[in-house]
């Protein structure tokens, strides 16, 4: 399907496809097994200018938008959802700075991120605060020129590997959600350490760790926006990054579909390739249709954000919800098409399925996405009544 991409966007797609074919796919199975962080691939992506896709040119980026980022994430995810999330999570950690950073903060942090010299990460989730982000316990207390951070973040993608962290902490617990603020914390700051690396079901090439703050002193200049804006920063960041998760899901689904089609043509049973059986054909047809529908929704949402629509929460929730549900279904069907081989780690199908599952969970579970969508619907309906 032709999505009327610009010349530049086609170039991005081609470049990312080349990186995926030459650098990601060959190592995907191995890194899934060893859980080794894909630094080699990150270096290649850095040298190709792709970490700067969505960062303004004056901060060393390529000046592109969310769609550019989605195209890259989708292509990488066809090869490995674990490697692609290392790339996408850096964008997630960077968006708070892009959206709410001062020029000084941008000057200080964005050029290194754009060049791929430093990875970023976003720290929100806590053991007791998953979907209910307002329950976070980490505190930031102002003491003169500093804030002092205390508390623990967990399940942080790129934790331990990234250099730059945007962290949400309570500056005023009495105000509830309005008492949260966003901060930039650099790796190596005294009092900032990492907990154990999680042993995950999928996206195993990526690193997921705890961030532990023990009287961690950071300069007050590291506050993003104003005190109390923490949740707004979070929501707006997710609005930008959700199409990225959707693109990751889309890439995983496409990768699994491609593998299933190839296998179905090669695998012979009853003297014929299994692709000649209608049972398999119908499955493949449904998979392809769903993947294409997801793509249309993801690209449309990304375009909408890039065109300057500030109120894209509902649409980006829809894109994330739909694409990740499609990914789960398509990868499960791919395993089915591979049959017994699909269940074996020697073949790529089961990895796609394991990698797909997380896209229904992180950056807001799909139940939370439905909440967002429903709330938006109700809000709109009551607006129309007046």
């Amino acid at each position: 399907m032709d999505y009327l991409l610009t010349e530049n966007q086609k170039m991005i797609k081609d470049l990312c496809r080349q990186i995926t074919e030459e650098k990601i796919t060959p190592v995907a199975a191995e890194l899934d097994k060893s859980e080794e962080f894909p630094w080699e691939v990150m270096k290649v992506i850095a040298k190709s200018d792709l970490f700067g896709l969505y960062i303004e040119e004056k901060y060393g980026g390529m000046g592109g938008g969310v769609l550019d980022l989605c195209l890259a994430t989708e292509e990488f995810s066809k090869g490995c959802g674990g490697i692609s999330v290392c790339y996408a999570a850096s964008a997630l950690g960077t968006y708070p700075i892009i959206l709410y950073g001062t020029d000084e903060q941008k000057q200080k942090y964005l050029p290194d991120i754009a060049k791929g010299k430093k990875l970023a990460a976003f720290g929100l989730t806590e053991p007791a605060a998953g979907s209910d982000a307002s329950a976070i316990q980490t505190t930031a207390k102002k003491e003169g020129d500093h804030y002092v951070l205390n508390g623990t973040k967990h399940f942080i993608t790129n934790g331990g590997e990234a250099e730059i962290y945007t962290v949400i902490a309570m500056t005023d617990k009495t105000k509830g959600a309005r008492g949260a603020s966003a901060f930039i914390v650099e790796k190596g700051t005294p009092g900032f350490t990492f907990g154990k690396k999680e042993d995950k079901m999928g996206i195993r090439a990526s690193a997921t760790r705890e961030l532990i703050f023990t009287d961690c002193k950071i300069p007050k200049e590291n506050l993003l926006g104003k005190e109390g804006l923490g949740f707004i920063v979070t929501m707006k960041t997710f609005d930008m990054s959700r199409p990225g998760v959707a693109a990751q899901a889309l890439g995983i689904a496409q990768g699994a579909l491609d593998a299933a089609v190839k296998y179905a043509k090669e695998r012979v049973q009853f003297g014929k390739p299994i692709s000649s059986f209608q049972g398999i054909q119908f499955m493949l047809a449904d998979m392809a249709t769903e993947v294409e529908a997801a793509r249309a929704l993801v690209y449309a949402t990304a375009r909408e954000i890039d065109s300057g629509n500030k109120d894209s929460g509902r649409d980006s929730a829809m894109a994330k919800l739909f694409a990740s549900d499609v990914a789960m279904k398509v990868t499960t069907d791919a395993v089915q098409i591979f049959g017994g081989y699909g269940y074996m780690k020697e073949y790529p199908a089961e990895k796609y399925m394991r990698d797909a599952k997380i896209t229904q969970i992180y950056e807001g579970t799909n139940q939370i996405q439905r909440n967002i969508i429903a709330l938006a619907l109700i809000k709109e309906a009551s607006k129309n009544k007046k």
Binding site: N8, M11, L15, Q18, D49, L50, M62
Partner: protein
């Protein structure tokens, strides 16, 4: 350091077919790529530039479409591309090709090192590189797997042989042909691709390089292809698909009769 890299555009696959009616190669639908061995030459050229400064000029001879091979080289980090394209060049064999490229290099004038891939994946001749150096009368070193150093107007390189390698030192300017062991070609950068899209590619014709009419194209090519054909398939072999024990027993039975 002025570096010249000579490249060739080749069909992406070696699975080409012959049209039984016209007895010519069917080229339709076959994508063109930079000869894989030339990718190592391009990478080595860029690495030399990154180390010593200077400029990498990439040259190719071919139809107008070969321009995209030059753009790809520029996206990787080469500075300039020159396309040698003229109907008069058509039908060149390796002698005429070497002469034509050498004449273009003479026109460029300033060069310290010329790098070629060890051979092209379509013709597999490995003759053009040495041919260029013979026409220019400069030293050549083929099958280079490592450049140890470039210093004081000399290059010290490792040349791969059947038994191992030789370390050779040669004055510049010289021509080397490189093997795949020499480096790992990079992936282009987005900025490089944008630069390549805008780059102006010079097209030189026979007149521009002052090539003598009798030394280029069909006229300048002593060799002449008189026949192309698909190699006869091997007769169908015997396939055993029973249990391992049965198959091995049958195979051993045959082998002992007429081999061992």
């Amino acid at each position: 350091m002025n570096i010249i890299v000579c490249i060739k555009q080749v069909p992406e696959t070696t699975q080409v077919q012959i049209d039984p009616k016209t007895n010519t190669l069917i080229r339709e639908g076959v994508q063109s790529i930079i000869n894989p061995f030339d990718m190592y030459a391009i990478e080595e050229g860029i690495r030399i530039k990154e180390k010593f400064g200077g400029k990498v000029t990439v040259i190719t001879m071919g139809p107008p479409q070969a321009e995209c091979a030059l753009r790809e080289a520029i996206s990787l980090g080469c500075d300039e591309g020159i396309l040698l394209s003229d109907r008069a060049f058509a039908g060149s064999d390796t002698l005429a090709t070497g002469y034509t490229l050498a004449m273009a290099i003479k026109k460029i004038k300033e060069f310290d090192i010329i790098i070629c891939g060890k051979q092209a994946s379509d013709g597999d001749t490995a003759q053009v590189g040495p041919g260029i150096s013979a026409h220019l009368d400069i030293p050549q070193i083929t099958y280079v797997k490592k450049i140890e150093e470039i210093q004081d107007g000399h290059a010290t390189v490792e040349r791969m042989t059947e038994e191992g390698f030789e370390i050779l030192k040669t004055p510049l300017p010289c021509l080397i042909t490189v093997v795949k062991e020499i480096n790992e070609p990079r992936i282009p950068s987005l900025k490089g691709m944008m630069k390549a899209k805008k780059a102006v590619i010079a097209t030189w014709k026979a007149l521009d390089i002052e090539a003598e009419e009798y030394r280029i194209g069909l006229k300048g090519s002593p060799t002449q292809v008189v026949k192309i054909f698909t190699p006869p398939p091997r007769p169908k072999g015997q396939i055993f698909d029973g249990t391992p024990e049965e198959s091995v027993e049958k195979l051993i039975g045959i082998l002992k009769n007429h081999l061992i």
